[in-house]
Symmetry: C2
Subunit: 309 residues, 2 copies
């Protein structure tokens, strides 16, 4: 799947991923109204609104981008109905040729990690039959529990040719509370980065490993270091746009080939119509605003990559 | 909810929690057969088998125990059908007066953490209505992202009188890879423990905080230290039984009142009928074997508490 991701990035010339994190207050009123008219102000109604909103954005951007990253929390907050739409979104995006990174940040140990892995990336056995429950292409994983937590995921990735992005340095302001603590003079995130490189060595695709890392756009200097610590790991970079990261900050996450990183934007793309810059599209044409925001983001990042020293 | 947990522990005189982690190979053949006869070898069939299995164990043990801890991964691996049974299990246990600790190990930042929190512990707004999607009483949370990840959960706990158990030192062999790294001469888990104590100070129940910690039974010496670092935090202790922890190892997790800790056993209780010790019950009477295993576990732990110096 990492080979397919690289191929799609080359083909679209867009090292970006659109975060499908549909908070209800991002969803235009006309979509909410239609969904509530059909299902009432229920969990099902909220889920239907998310689905219609997602579908509009996917249809308007799928020719421009290699991948999407649905954040499962935004669906899980509406319970079972929300999770049904998570699954529907995964399936729809794949039918449009997009690679799906499930932003699930799961992490446990042994058979429990294995259960998450088969549920999201692999197949589960029921008697003589097997099923693909969620079937994302990649998943994000939390490393706090160590190798015991990551290896069951890695095994499923090997079998099903799927991939992981392990949290190394997250984009939030307080990420340093634990991640930046110095261990023998080096921050913890570097140690985690080294482990990611090590786990990844055993699971190589053509150019990059099946096992990548998450490093926040808001910490470009750390990105520079981590790029070297994990030379074969793709870096998923959240925090662009709404969280403050800019194209020029991102060049160090990429390698000399201009590859090796994929930058996520969620709110900045899916709620673009709410920004002054794209307000002229209007809420009815929110998906066109998202398309324009994708084009602008790709131009920003590719421009920065061309101009780097 | 922490007050209710303390009260239930005193009433049952059982500082234990039963982990409802129904792997298919724990479920007796007669239950699987009946479920597959009704729904086929499908995800729905697997989910039905889990449900019937859980129901049997809950019915056979609910008068003896204060709480259960369903591990969501075991349900999530069967997709939507599995998650429906997770919810059904939560509701059923609550109807039996049990406190439900959702072992979900979620953790993200800002609005995403808030989404998990409302989904699992709080209520979500849909237009003018609000809903309680999963409605567990406690949830486990991963601290790797720092305060930004924990605070949205804490806010929901405050509003809905729910609680958290934050991963501090996990029970698995490789937990030390990151958690034991020395920061200024002290292991990272101590720093995390200090943060748990600090987060918890702002959210106190009568005797203990709404914010507790997870510390593995397999590391009793660390439990001793962490008990002092977090004097007001309840400690959820996994790793008893199948993972190697024994009653005598656990006394240091408790405070001088014999409270402050709750010990989890999953496989050791729910698959007790598979152990030689309980084999005479037979698979048909698996729930009676679980009941006996609960009685034995309570006697082991209370005995150790009585005999401690």
């Amino acid at each position: 799947m990492i080979n397919k991701l690289v191929e799609k990035i080359k083909k679209t010339n867009a090292p970006i991923v659109v975060g499908l994190d549909p908070m209800l207050n991002y969803i235009p009123e006309h979509i909410q109204k239609a969904a509530f008219a059909e299902y009432g102000e229920t969990l099902e109604g909220a889920a239907e609104a998310m689905w219609q909103f997602n579908k509009g954005i996917v249809d308007a951007t799928c020719d421009l981008i290699p991948a999407v990253k649905p954040q499962i929390a935004m669906y899980e907050q509406f319970g079972i109905e929300g999770l049904k739409v998570f699954k529907k979104t995964v399936d729809y995006c794949k039918s449009k040729g997009l690679i799906v990174i499930g932003d699930i940040k799961r992490g446990d140990i042994g058979s429990t990690s294995a259960a998450y892995a088969v549920g999201h990336l692999g197949s589960v056995q029921v008697g003589s039959k097997s099923y693909l429950p969620f079937d994302e292409d990649f998943a994000t994983v939390n490393p706090y529990l160590g190798s015991d937590g990551v290896k069951p995921f890695a095994e499923v990735c090997k079998e099903h040719k799927k991939g992981l992005f392990i949290l190394v340095k997250t984009s939030n302001p307080s990420s340093g509370e634990f991640q930046d603590q110095l261990v023998d003079g080096r921050p913890l995130y570097e140690l985690v980065g080294e482990k990611v490189a090590q786990w990844g060595e055993e699971l190589m695709g053509d150019e990059y490993s099946y096992i990548g890392a998450v490093v926040g756009a808001t910490y470009p200097e750390m990105g520079k270091v981590l790029r070297k610590v994990m030379p074969k790991s793709f870096i998923l970079v959240p925090g662009y746009g709404a969280q403050g990261g800019k194209g020029a900050d991102l060049v160090h996450f990429f390698d000399e080939n201009g590859l090796g990183a994929i930058v996520n934007s969620s709110r900045g793309i899916i709620a673009a119509y709410k920004q002054e810059k794209y307000a002229s599209f209007g809420a009815e044409n929110y998906a066109d605003a998202s398309r324009q925001a994708v084009l602008d983001m790709v131009a920003d990042i590719n421009g920065a990559l061309e101009n780097r020293e």
